[in-house]
Symmetry: C2
Amino acid sequence: MITPFDDAYFMKKALQEAEIAFEKGEVPVGAVIVVEDRIIARAHNLTEQLNDVTAHAEMQAITAAANFLGGKYLHNCTLYVTLEPCQMCAGALYWSQISKIVYGAKDTERGFSTMGTKIHPKTKVVQGVMEKEAAQLLKRFFIEKRNLN
Amino acid sequence: MITPFDDAYFMKKALQEAEIAFEKGEVPVGAVIVVEDRIIARAHNLTEQLNDVTAHAEMQAITAAANFLGGKYLHNCTLYVTLEPCQMCAGALYWSQISKIVYGAKDTERGFSTMGTKIHPKTKVVQGVMEKEAAQLLKRFFIEKRNLN
């Protein structure tokens, strides 16, 4: 069976969120949470606009998905996020017991794998989906930001 | 000089927040954020009431303090929290570059020191302030919860 709903399909939706962040002058990271091929939460980084370090795309998506589901555990859910989650977001995902995390670009400085953050034993992690697109958007953001300063 | 504003003074305020959480049926953890001997944020755990794993006392306090200050960095701020922060909260505190974290009871299972979460190099950590009171409140909560089930 051919299904349009593969990891790349949903990562594209996360990338669209990252592009919205880019346009707002935010570090371009986007996320969606999916359950049974249905997007139940979309979010993008808003740390600058909200003046709030906790406003990463993943954190907002976790809150929105739990609100949609009416429960705090994200069992049977998959998070698609354009950049590898940080300690905070990986820690929140740990508490949510989410079933799967799919991320695009690696964050070799502040990503959870470099930082040694523990992932919940129930959570499967997939990396590198549309990695190039996610990384290029971030690169473009930091080049433009440098040129403006 | 004798000042009433020592770590125990502010930890008592955090304990009062933990007691409010207890009365709401939440795991009793409370937090305050202080700048120049002034409390600028108070919060208690609301994960059950909000159905949201991100609603830890510390996370809410970080957001409230940043809102008060009008900036996302918590320089010159001290967080008082009754229980050792988890990976998520320690990760958020890392981004905030908070000056000092003071916590009461240790969390030997899910606390940041057991989990290996990185603390920002600018952040000083003090542990064990009113540890007994904070731990007893948590113990009482879990005993009552067990007896109800």
